[in-house]
């Protein structure tokens, strides 16, 4: 047997998903996350998964062919400021650019209410202070030509000063190094000769992209987490090997897919957001196999709500990301997070005497009031308990009993202040958080020219299935899928291993019309040589390597660029013209007729190559479509408050794990799964499809 296993370490739980290729089936398991040593939670989740398969963990690991980890270790180190002591080398004249932050440091990463309060806002504190930045005499221009040669003697002295100050990692970021890396690489060589064990992070290797500030931040963050991540990766791998694993633990990345440990150790920054990204990745790979090409992926956990978009089977990407209020240049699958989850706190805003929900969260400790662990502020989960949607005796499959009275107490307090009934207050908490989530989805779809009504909503994570029908309805979406029903709660873990081994290459190539096809061909060929060599080295043969090219094009006079797919192979001048046509077609689709200004000409900004080493495919087993629709057995009944009908209804409860393809339910009803709860609201219906997905017709 050859299990394929993914482990996603989240803020509250560590989720494990196991795919058994022989049966085409999935199993999932959970364990509490252990923040002080995440490896504990990692192996506990594996142990629980093994137990679910009636194996001991050694046997389970021995039978595991691929094990992928999505980890938040790097993100946590950055947020809690527990990384390495850093030194930074920059081009002379630009040593303060990290502090200047392009003039947007005060506002970056702030929500609108913080943004507008001048006296209450500040720039974030940088990871490296003035004394640890050295400016190096050298200069390259935008075409990669050397303007001032590198002064190696001065550089050596500068690096020696930093090493003498006790730095643990060194970041090197020179202007235009992504066009001409040799100055950075020379500095790296010098630094390695002075301090052989220093972790060195070069911008031309970590983030070879236009824009020195975002590149510097990415390079610095990478250096900051480098030593710590090196220890984490080694630790996990050693213990897995000792535990019986015969392969290396691989790591999921924010660009999608996974890479082996040596590669992630060199650029550990790419593990940030790998969990949420894996959720989108899983949807983009498995969604089309289930017949869904356009998907809004929504993951609602305890603290955050993560949204991604899959359009025509391809996840949307972005080039910048803000971490700890620093914007960095890093390509990644686009996942947007807002502070909205089961633990989001509801409170009365004194300015308007209305209720607000989130972004502050009760987190896992103390958690919602109903956890009975000292939480004194009512949360979304408390509201769901009061409404009767969440069964207090079946939370996490019955592992945690919820205190209904505590939840009521908290919400009664708000109800008193608002002059509303208990039920309407609880329903109000859900409506407000649902409207915030719908707003975020609007931002990601309508703002980018997509109509949400053309999409299906995938709802996963512990809270997604509970709220999806509501935010979907606000957006006009007709169908919500809870993919693979109970496995949806570990969907991101599952997503870690479905994308294959992914390497991303990017080249800044600035061209104007008429496009220089020779330059395009040369640049793609160079990237492809590199990619194929690397994947071959990792054991992939030509038949299991997939190359995907894109190009970033824009109208000369306009601002928005688009990523356009480029055919593989040698490009002819006619192909180049076709690229421009394709660009115009997509531009019109996205922004409307007449939105583009053709007379200004178009320009190419950069080329990108995604190289995928294909791992064994996850094939979904499907059950034959049943001849007749039928209803599953009612497990129990309870009073649930539905605000649409402004009353309690005696509501049938169904056991989700017993539902089979062809089963159908009409709302109002509740489907209980061990790791989540799915309300089927009045005038909605639910069914199970051939893949075992739970579908809600909104």
């Amino acid at each position: 047997m050859n299990y394929i296993v993914g482990v996603d370490i989240g803020g509250t739980f560590t989720d494990c998903a196991v795919f058994d290729p022989a049966r085409g089936s999935f199993t999932t398991a959970k364990a509490p996350t252990t923040p002080s040593n995440p490896a504990e939670g990692f192996f506990n989740a594996l142990e629980n998964a093994a137990a679910g398969l009636d194996l001991d963990s050694r046997e389970f690991l021995a039978r595991t062919r691929i094990l992928v980890n999505a980890t938040t270790t790097a993100t946590n180190a950055i947020v809690t400021k527990r990384g390495a002591r850093l030194g930074l080398l920059t081009t002379a004249g630009h040593g303060q650019s990290l502090f200047i932050m392009n003039g947007s440091g005060r506002s970056k990463g702030l929500g609108v209410d913080e943004l507008l309060y001048m006296a209450g806002s500040e720039k974030p504190r940088p990871l490296v202070s003035r004394e640890y930045i050295e400016e190096i005499t050298e200069r390259v221009d935008c075409k990669g030509e050397v303007v001032v040669r590198l002064d190696e003697a001065q550089a050596r002295a500068a690096i020696e000063r930093l090493v003498a100050k006790g730095i643990e990692a060194l970041a090197i970021c020179l202007l235009w190094s992504f066009q001409r890396p040799d100055h950075e690489l020379t500095l790296k060589r010098i630094a390695a000769s002075i301090a052989p064990h220093l972790f060195i992070s070069c911008s031309c290797e970590v983030a070879p992209f236009l824009g020195e500030h975002g590149r510097t931040v990415a390079t610095l963050f990478n250096a900051y987490v480098g030593p710590l991540m090196g220890r984490y990766i080694e630790g996990i791998n050693n213990r897995a090997r000792q535990g019986g694993l015969n392969s290396e633990v691989m790591f999921a990345r924010c660009v999608g897919g996974c890479v082996p440990p040596d590669e992630v150790a060199a650029a550990p920054l790419y593990t940030i957001d790998s969990g949420p990204v894996s959720g989108v990745q899983g949807s983009s790979v498995l969604g089309p196999k289930m017949g869904y090409d356009n998907i809004i992926t929504t993951d609602m956990g305890g603290t955050t709500f993560d949204v991604g978009i899959v359009y025509k089977g391809v996840p949307m990407t972005r080039n910048e990301t803000i971490l700890d209020r620093f914007e960095m240049r890093l390509p990644m699958i686009d996942v947007v997070s807002i502070g909205a989850g089961g633990g989001s706190i509801a409170y009365i805003d004194p300015a308007s005497n209305t209720m607000k929900v989130g972004p502050r969260s009760a987190g896992a400790e103390p958690g919602p009031m109903c956890y009975g662990k000292g939480g004194e502020e009512p949360t979304v989960t408390d509201a769901n308990v009061v409404l009767g949607i969440i069964n207090p005796d079946y939370f996490l499959g019955g592992q945690r009993r919820l205190d209904v009275l505590a939840a009521r107490r908290g919400i009664e307090r708000l109800a008193g202040a608002l002059g509303l009934s208990l039920e309407n207050t609880a329903a109000g908490i859900c409506r407000i958080v649902d409207s915030r989530m719908a707003g975020e989805i609007r931002r990601l779809t309508l703002f980018r020219g997509y109509d949400p009504r053309d999409f299906v909503v995938f709802a996963f994570g512990g809270g997604g299935p509970t709220h999806a029908a509501m935010y979907a309805r606000e957006l006009g979406v007709k169908k919500v899928a809870i993919p693979l029903a109970n496995a949806a709660a570990a969907w991101s873990a599952l997503g870690t291993f479905v994308g294959g081994m992914v390497h991303l290459y990017e080249r800044n190539l600035y061209l104007r019309e008429p496009l220089d096809v020779g330059a395009l061909n040369a640049a793609y060929a160079a990237m492809e040589r590199q990619a194929i060599e690397r994947l071959r080295g990792q054991g992939f043969d030509a038949s299991s390597i997939v190359l995907e090219r894109t190009i970033a094009i824009k109208y000369c006079a306009q601002v928005s660029h688009l990523e356009i797919t480029v055919p593989n192979g040698h490009l002819s001048p006619a192909d180049a013209l076709r690229l421009i046509d394709d660009f115009q077609t997509v531009y019109t689709q996205r922004y409307g007729e007449g939105a583009g200004y053709r007379q200004a000409g178009v320009e190419v900004l950069r080329l990108r190559l995604k190289a995928v080493g294909v791992l064994p495919q996850v094939e979904l087993s499907r059950r034959a479509a049943p001849k007749r629709q039928s209803a599953p057995k009612v497990k129990s009944r309870r009073r649930v408050y539905w605000w649409e009908i402004e009353q309690y209804a005696d509501t049938p409860i169904f056991e989700g794990t017993l539902m089979r393809a062809g089963h159908q339910i009409s709302g109002p009803a509740i489907i209980e799964l061990p790791h989540t709860t799915v309300p089927v609201r009045p005038e909605q219906s639910a069914e199970v499809d051939r893949f075992g997905n739970l579908l809600i017709n909104v």
């Binding site: 002379a92 609108v112 943004l115 001048m118 720039k123 209305t354 409506r431 409207s435 601002v559 939105a595």
Partner: protein, 777 residues
Amino acid sequence: MEEQATHSIHPSAQREMQALDPRVWDGFTLSYAPREKLNISPKLRLHTESAAHIDPIAFEVIRNALWILNEEHADTIRKVGASPVASFANDLNTSIQTETGEAVMFAPYVQYFAGVADLVVQWTLENRSENPGIEEGDVFFQNDPLVGVSHQMDVQTFAPVFIDGALFCWVFNSVHVRDIGGTEPSSFCVEARDIYGEATPIPPIKIAERGRLRADVEQMIRRHSRIPGLLALDLRSQLAGVHAATSRARELVARYGAATVKGAMRKIIDDASAAVSRRLRRIPDGTWREVTYLGALSRGDRRAHRVVMSMTKTGDQLVFSNEGTEPQFGSANCSFGAWRAAIANSMSALLAWDHRYCTGGVLKHASFCPVPGTINCIDRSGAVSNLLGIMSSVAMSATVLSKMLSCDEELRINQMAVKASSAWTGMSGIDQWGQPYATVSLDEIASGGGAFSFKDGIDQGGTYTIPRSEAGDCEVWEQASPILYLFRRYSLGFGHGQYRGGRGIVLGWVGRGTNSQYLSAASIPLSLPGANGLWGGHCGQAGFFMSAVNCGIARSLAQGRLPASVEQLREIVRLEPVPPKSVGVPLLSDDVWVMDIGSAGGYGDPIKRDPQAVLEDIRDGLRLEQAWAIYGVVLDGDRVDTAKTVERREQIRRQRIARAAAPPQPIQAPALNGGEKLLLRMGAELKVVEIGGRAYIACADCGHYLCEAAGNYKLGCGRIDGSLAELDDTLYGDAGEELDDTMVYRSYICPGCGVLLENELARSDEPPLWDVRLNLG
């Protein structure tokens, strides 16, 4: 039909103006200023029904939805538009307004667009509802400063949203376009003597009628521009934005009902108004005044033009006046609407920060007494393209409001000093890719924020005028234009104070890969920085330019010598100052251009600054002699010598007292029968106390009594008449060289202890500014 409008002209001012001519504030003869009742054609049905009580849940949901719809409006414009100024610097804004124009919500972009949007809608209601009529599917275009726009480049498009045949609300946007005509490319007409030398203003006209773009109107607008194709794109992006916002507003109404949505809009405004009212009522009544001097209003202008703002607070109402402001001059004036908008911007930021700057609510607490024909209230001929009038009005209103807020313990933390007006570089020529190009550098966006009453101003922190904006990377600019940044660093100075002003940036460029590139400079005189400090904090610095042509920099670079700062550059080349309004300065591979965008003002007496913070400043470039002279900080090696610092600071106090002229109106120390009761703290080092039933303003540091509470505390102070150049002769320029007027920098000193209470930059013939006149009742 008459509808209630936002109070705009103060009733007393209206009476005065009516005595002159009842019809002049019509947006044609003078700026538009609506009276209390709007005159709207009965042909137009307004939707006025609004739910008085909205369930708090529905309110929060609708509020979120309105915010998102307004953001979508802005986002649509940024995506499709052609203007990099709009897309990168966010020089745009969008709003939702009630049926009579009151502003409900603005996006977090240029905020002084907010205080004109209501005027523009109200003008349109009054002037277009009868002929040609306002109907469903119409979209209006306008860029007339008299109706209400900052300058002609900020073109506005706006549309009524109809529900069941009644005008429900308006969606509105303003976008800064690259060129809309006038004598200069990009429409900043430095040389214009009046508005007829600038882009022709166009009052509200339908660019779309019943859902169809009017080709004739669009062509007429495009005909104004040197780049009609790009202007057309910007217009289309604006129309697309209006369309998106309109559709979304209709969906919202369909979902929640018109009365509920309207009720939510009113509640948003009312909540903001209630917050402003509550805050104003905490503060004693009084009048606060500010005077600033503007220079270089046109090329070669050597005068210091006085601009005045006074603000009188009674209860929860503020009345603003510009009386005393000098006549309009050059192209840096503004209309009444823009002046009001500048004030609304500062009020929103300082009084309604937690209500998303809802100007509809804020403006319920402001009225205005404008004197027309002045720098900040033009008559119909005034030129406005260079914006200084509005920028200085933002700064002056922030100062009077901050001084007022200093009187309340809860609100005093919101005080904020101001930054200098802009320094901009325009660039044009042939780029390194062989194409003609023209653009404006956005480095100015990285300006420093003013000092607060409890912390330093934020370096490159920007302002509340554009809360979200970005200067861009050096690499991005080097790819887009034929320049190379030798350095980009902290600006050379900052406004000194107990809490210092935020720094901007200074940059050095050489030309790269071009045979033809010319720069133009727009700045103000160094000796009139306008970035006044607060309560003894000193002025920030104005931005400035230096240049060196055929200077040998190319050879230095080739030899491996890279000047990485202004000081290092000076070792290689001789930098010449560039006058504030200059055009045609070349920048090729052997030329250098330096731009320092200036910095913001400080707060409080510099000798009260934490010596450790001064040590940090020294590490960032403050000169040792400044640390000694201005801050009284003495170092021992690389540490602060605490004992000597204390001693030096005492010495500074003694020297100030010795140097200061005696107070012109000292008062007798009142007899302390029954003791002194603290009424309030004011400023950094002032307090108002009551003794035996009378109130006095006294020095908080030593208790010295300066004047009775209703008096001018400055007349009880010692006064030092100095110059800004004494603080720093390079960064504040030489007023004698720049100006024909004689300027004096006055410092007001407590005669008891020598603490610095306030500074003012004045023309030497002006009396001391009575900046605070309390009315304790």
